[in-house]
């Protein structure tokens, strides 16, 4: 993680804990979360249900309060400077937050007025945002008649009316169809890249995190289990998978000997006519593998390299085997603290 920002992190979270108390049991939602998000970057917060993602966002947006620890947004403490924090942030919660009985224009104008814009300025900002999100044609229709994708965009547009410095998106694409999701991804990328907004995104979709996030933090049981860039996290796994399919089946033994001799090739397995192995970096290893096989005059039918997916990362750090009760250490919790994977 880089710590070379000039103006300090946009979001800082240190040692947050929170326990929800129900009638006869307690749920420890946060168990000492630490986070930092650099200005203008997208942080993806990943984890299973109940891991503490939404609770973290609710504390950062001043909606909820931590039992202990500190949290600040653009350098402002979320408890002491709550009013200033609210003006600095935009929040898109999991649930739709627009007024279905109002039109798109009415929703956006009211939001602008709440943040202190004059009626004229609020109207201009509403038109600008409707235009930007491709909602201008629907702007005068009641929002309840819009499609799910349009409604979600309205939620995001409403959170941008006051030009926040930090935007919290809590599962922004849950329930959207693939086209609407792709659309939303394009908008989110633009927020950080073009508008310089710092984005904290929670999601269930690994593909989404991979696509959008500069940095990832995986949380589980209210603790950070691993953090790093999506690339570094994937590289931090056992490496890329290389599969070599030989033109002639009988060459498999020879080919296995050749590959076994190459440095960096491990976990070599063979099935009829196909050799599989793990390498640190597929892009580097592939030419070497092909050259070595070529030098041994072994003809190839196909070679494929599969990069480890974020699914692999997620399963390793947040995955829990069936029947593993609380207290049983899962793979990602072997270490006492959280892991950091260097970029």
């Amino acid at each position: 993680m880089s710590h070379t920002t000039r103006s300090g992190p946009a979001i800082t979270v240190a040692g947050l804990t929170k326990t929800y108390r129900a009638r006869n049991h307690e749920v420890r939602a946060l168990d000492g979360i630490d986070l930092e998000v650099d200005p203008g970057t997208v942080l993806g917060l990943l984890g299973p249900n109940g891991a503490g993602k939404s609770t973290t966002v609710k504390i950062l947006t001043t909606l909820s309060r931590a039992d202990s620890g500190t949290a600040s947004v653009v350098g402002l403490d979320v408890v002491r400077d709550a009013a200033a924090v609210r003006r600095a942030l935009g929040y898109v919660s999991q649930k739709p937050a627009f007024d279905p009985v109002g039109t798109g224009v009415e929703n956006l104008v009211l939001t602008g007025r709440v943040y202190g814009l004059s009626p004229r300025a609020a109207r201009a900002r509403a038109d600008e945002l409707l235009e930007r999100f491709g909602l201008a044609d629907a702007g005068r229709r009641l929002a309840r008649t819009w499609s799910g994708g349009m409604q979600r965009k309205l939620d995001v547009a409403m959170s941008l009316v006051h030009r926040p410095q930090v935007l919290f998106l809590d599962e922004p694409t849950t329930g959207l169809d693939p086209e609407a999701r792709a659309d939303m991804w394009a908008e989110i990328s633009r927020l950080a890249a073009a508008d310089g907004i710092t984005v904290l995104l929670t999601t269930h979709y690994l593909e989404e995190a991979d696509h959008l996030a500069d940095q990832l933090v995986i949380v589980d049981h209210g603790r950070v289990v691993v953090r790093g860039t999506p690339e570094a996290l994937k590289r931090g796994l056992s490496g890329d998978a290389v599969a070599v399919e030989l033109a002639e089946r009988r060459d498999v033994d020879d080919a296995a000997r050749v590959l076994d001799a190459l440095p960096g090739v491990r976990e070599l397995t063979r099935t009829s006519g196909v050799l599989r192995a793990r390498v640190d970096d597929g892009a580097v290893a592939l030419p070497e593998v092909m050259a070595a096989l070529d030098a041994a005059s072994l003809r190839l039918a196909a070679v494929t390299v599969a990069r480890p997916s974020l699914d692999d990362v997620y399963l390793r750090y947040a995955g829990r085997a069936f029947g593993s009760a609380d207290g049983t250490e899962s793979a990602g919790r072997r270490t006492a603290g959280s892991e950091e994977v260097a970029a």
Binding site: R87, S93, K95, A97, L110
Partner: protein, 258 residues
């Protein structure tokens, strides 16, 4: 402070606009009190022959009672607006915006008050149409509407507080049903306290519904006892302010649980 007032106004306008856009609901909330008026008016038509009515028509006696009862009934639903806002993300968005908790509470109470003013005037006019006669004139009408608004504020605040604490439509309906009918019958809405058993009359004296009914009926009479009217209205103001304050505190409980 001015920001809070601006926010209150903006959010009040939003809920009134939404109310107008749901005409079926508006129609129902206006028809229901008329049904009460005609139903009870017919049912208890002959009670004026009992001592205690001093020869007035029952409609004249009943109409202000139905006005305050209607105010209580419709205010009991106020919390369902909060529950809808909580079920959607509207409440969470409002609470993370510069809108303060007092403005959120005030806007709900204010839009409820506007509704009650309209309802009260319609019920009063309907009462006159079926035979009620109010010697108190315009001042009497104004006091009746004020008493209805104050009583409505008490119950709207209570309803909002319950909504923030239980966060469930069913529980809110249950609690509201549990309270409103007994409070109506433990008051002088339909029968003067002279005709009640002593213990009911004693309970009625502590019942805000009775305060509102007594104040409006007195103000609509030919020679009102203004100290009685003022005393009952003052009690309603105190309880309304207290409930509004308690209901605003209930946001803390809600935020602790989210």
């Amino acid at each position: 402070m001015t920001t809070a007032l601006v926010h209150t106004e903006l959010l009040t306008r939003r809920s009134l606009r939404n109310l107008v856009r749901q005409p079926a609901y508006v129609a129902f909330s206006l028809i229901q009190p008329l049904v009460w008026l005609l139903l009870f008016g017919q049912l208890f038509r002959n009670v004026v022959e009992l001592p205690g009515f001093e020869g007035a028509s029952y409609m004249t006696y009943l109409t202000p009672g139905v006005v305050v009862m209607t105010a209580m009934f419709s205010a009991g639903w106020a919390g369902s607006g909060f529950i809808v806002a909580m079920d959607r993300g509207v409440m969470d968005r409002d609470l993370t915006s510069p809108v303060g908790r007092p403005a959120l509470m005030m806007s709900s109470l204010a839009s409820q008050a506007v509704t009650i003013v309209v309802q009260s005037l319609i019920v009063l006019a309907a009462g006159v149409a079926v035979g009620a006669r109010f010697a108190g004139g315009l001042v009497g009408w104004a006091v009746t509407v004020a008493a209805a608004v104050l009583l409505g504020t008490v119950f709207a605040a209570l309803s909002n507080a319950v909504a923030l604490l239980v966060r469930q439509q069913e529980a809110l309906i249950g609690i509201s049903q549990f309270l409103t009918l007994p409070l109506t019958f433990l008051s002088s809405v339909m029968l003067p306290s002279d005709l009640m058993p002593d213990w009911v009359a004693a309970v009625a004296r502590l019942n805000p519904v009775d305060w509102a009914a007594v104040a409006s009926r007195e103000a609509l009479s030919a020679s009102p006892d203004w100290s009685l009217v003022g005393g009952r209205l003052a009690l309603l103001v105190v309880v309304a302010a207290l409930m509004g304050w308690l209901a605003t505190r209930a946001f803390r409980t809600y935020q602790r649980s989210v």
